[in-house]
């Protein structure tokens, strides 16, 4: 049995004296699609920020593919095979769509900070970036500045940039936030396509998306996971219904 893709043990985080994450244990096996749901302010985004090292944990331990990564920097964690997206679109606005994706593939392909390679001569990087553009449906927008794309296009690019580097653990923070129903359906199909064979952990508000996409779901309430299970188990869990679903399906 191989190590889980992601393992959190007793992870805590306080901002000042306010505890936000109050002891989270979570194991995501390799290849699983795992969703984290919970009411507003439950700490879902904070949990993501801890796992991706945007913030340091106050205490606890985070393991990525069996290796402890607690206290590492974001770029070190990325180089170990974890990549994340952002809830608020977070791309390179003054670079072309193509260059956004190409920047994501240059590091893992070993070009790093090279100033002795000619970018346009790097066929492997270009072909990989073009393949990603094709798959996220932005090939026609290749040379457009990313900052002027439509919102849905920017969200697609966000996902493309996140998976382009070939990380095998992908964290998506609300990939369908702010989308219409039809846009959201397309985004779900995109997420499914792009994370094939990878470990996916996502935060999502839209219950339709969560129950359609996730293999397992964890429910985070006030900084603690109150339940983890398959969609059917979570739906049937009385504690979840009380704390979250039953009370506020409408505004979830």
């Amino acid at each position: 049995m191989s190590a889980p893709a992601l393992k959190l043990s007793a992870v805590r985080k306080s901002f000042g004296r306010t505890p936000i994450i109050r002891g989270v244990d979570l194991e995501v096996p390799a290849g699983e699609r795992h969703a984290i749901i919970g009411p507003n302010g439950a700490g879902k985004s904070t949990l993501f920020n801890l796992v991706s090292a945007r913030f340091p944990v106050s205490s606890g331990r985070i393991e990525l593919k069996g290796e402890e990564v607690t206290g590492r920097t974001p770029h070190e964690i990325n180089r170990r095979g974890l990549c994340r997206s952002f809830q608020i679109t977070n791309i390179f606005p003054h670079l072309s769509v193509f260059d956004n994706v190409r920047c994501a593939v240059l590091w893992p392909m070993g070009y790093r900070y090279s100033f002795w390679h000619r970018l346009s001569a790097l066929r492997d990087a270009r072909e990989r970036a073009e393949e990603i553009l094709e798959r996220i449906g932005l090939a026609a927008r290749r040379d457009t500045l990313a900052g002027v794309l439509s919102y849905a296009e920017q969200r697609a690019l966000e996902i493309g940039v996140t998976v382009a580097g070939g990380a095998d653990v992908i964290l998506l923070d609300e990939p369908t936030a702010g989308m219409s129903r039809s846009e959201s359906d397309e985004a779900v199909a995109l997420v499914r396509r792009m994370t094939e064979g990878k470990t996916l952990v996502m935060v999502e508000h839209d219950m339709g998306v969560v129950f359609g996409l996730a293999d397992r779901i964890s429910v985070l309430v006030y900084g603690q996971i109150i339940a983890t299970g398959t969609p059917a188990e979570i739906r049937a869990n009385p504690a979840v219904q009380e704390a979250y679903l039953g009370k506020s399906v409408a505004d979830a």
Binding site: P74, N90, H94, R102, A104, L106, Y113, F115, R118
Partner: protein, 424 residues
């Protein structure tokens, strides 16, 4: 689609070929000694401004202390030159700017390590502090910096090869032009490498770059060090040009000048700072030779650029090139023609007012209150010139307001048309 594009495409061939042609032919077209020394200065500043834009435009680092690399490069070169002159070392003068580059690179490696933790205001403030520190130490270590008098040298070190002794200014010009061309090509090439592109990514969004595996501090560090190298080469060229290096070279004044050059020329394009270096140098030298009020015009010009053309001269050019490619430049011509008159009134009136004011001030010193223009003498002690100039400014401004609406209306049409094209 899958082949590797050639290094020399049509655009680059035209751009760099044109650049090479201009710098090679400039002293043949205008060979006056005054023009030649002006060209030399532009060449030096071209390299300096481009090196500055590696930080400002490409990596998003606003530096107020870039002159320290320039000054150190100049000092490194002049000391190396003096060692060569004294016979202590043998080194061709042609390659001496490399000593400046090495000094700039070394300083960049040291200072880069401490300044790049953050971009934005933090970096700007640290660069200001370090600039002041280095400038202050120039008076504390006279052996290195030469104290008040600076360090001088003699660039003619021997018989030279094939008559190239760097005695005549024309030979120095071609030395500077050659280095400027090589350095420009090298800095352009850098923008086309993985580091160059990742620097843009770090400029746009350092956090996201970090989540893609890049260490933004490392990227900034490398760009500061390489920027220091090219600024050092510029300093070295200036040392060979003037044969003297004073504390001025690494002062806040020089740091400010290079910022203006990059900004006025346009930090958003590669070639913008070249235009900026030429424009600002010409203004500094030529306008200063015509009128004592030149710093005033200088400030006014900078203000106009910041307010009305934040993309700099290159930004304005770029806009018009886009319109031309879409075949819509002709639509602007009538509005621009209509604007020419009001602009002439406004500029003429403003200049007359400023010069009249200076004439009043100078009356005490030079016993004249008259402003001499070709074919016209204005007496600043009488009212009519003042009234006329003020009226010109007022009428010009009012007319320009009307015309401006037409111009911006045309631009709105062009932008709409371009956007529609981009969509389809």
């Amino acid at each position: 689609m899958s082949g590797v594009p050639p290094v020399l495409n049509r655009r680059r061939l035209l751009g760099f070929g044109g650049f090479l042609l201009v710098i090679a032919a400039a002293p043949l077209v205008v060979s006056h000694g005054y023009a030649l020394s002006l060209f030399c200065q532009i060449g030096v500043m071209t390299v300096f401004a481009l090196s500055y834009n590696m930080l400002l435009g490409q990596t998003g680092l606003l530096s107020f202390g870039h002159a320290v690399y320039f000054g150190m490069g100049a000092l490194g070169t002049i000391h190396a030159l003096n060692a060569v002159s004294a016979g202590a070392r043998w080194f061709p003068v042609t390659l001496l700017p490399l000593a400046g580059g090495a000094a700039g690179l070394l300083l960049g490696l040291v200072l880069g390590a401490v300044t790049v933790r953050r971009a934005g205001t933090t970096f700007a403030m640290i660069s200001l502090g370090i600039g002041e520190m280095v400038a202050a130490s120039s008076l504390m270590f006279p052996a290195v910096f030469g104290g008040e008098g600076g360090v001088s040298g003699n660039r003619v070190t021997g018989q030279g090869w094939f008559g190239v002794t760097y005695g005549p200014q024309l030979q120095v010009y071609y030395l500077i032009a050659g280095w400027a061309f090589v350095a420009t090509v090298a800095m352009y090439a850098l923008t086309q490498t993985p580091l160059g592109r990742v620097a843009n990514a770090v400029r746009d969004n350092p956090e996201r770059a970090q989540f893609l595996g890049y260490n933004p501090q490392r990227v900034r560090f490398l760009m500061v060090a390489l920027g220091g190298f090219f600024a050092g080469i510029a300093g070295g060229l200036s040392a060979l040009n003037y044969e003297i290096v004073t504390a001025e070279a690494l002062s806040a004044h020089t740091s400010g000048a290079v910022l203006l050059m990059a900004y006025v020329g346009g930090a958003g394009t590669f070639y913008g700072p070249i235009l900026g270096a030429a424009i600002i140098t010409v203004m500094q030298v030529v306008v200063a030779g015509i009128t004592k009020a030149w710093p005033f015009y200088f400030g006014l010009f900078f203000l106009v650029i910041v307010l009305y053309a934040p993309g700099g001269v290159a930004g304005v050019l770029q806009l018009h090139l886009r319109a031309r490619r879409a075949g819509m430049l002709r639509r602007l011509a009538p509005a621009y023609l209509a604007g020419a008159g009001p602009v002439a009134l406004l500029v003429g009136g403003t200049v007359t007012l400023v010069e009249l004011a200076y004439a009043v001030v100078n009356r005490v010193e030079e016993g004249t209150a008259r402003l001499r223009l070709p074919g016209l003498v204005l007496d600043s002690r009488t009212a009519p010139p003042w009234i006329g100039a003020a009226a010109a400014v007022l009428v010009g401004a009012l007319l320009l307001r009307v015309v401006w609406k037409r111009i911006s209306g045309r631009w709105a049409e062009i932008h709409a048309a371009l956007a529609a094209e981009g969509r389809s």
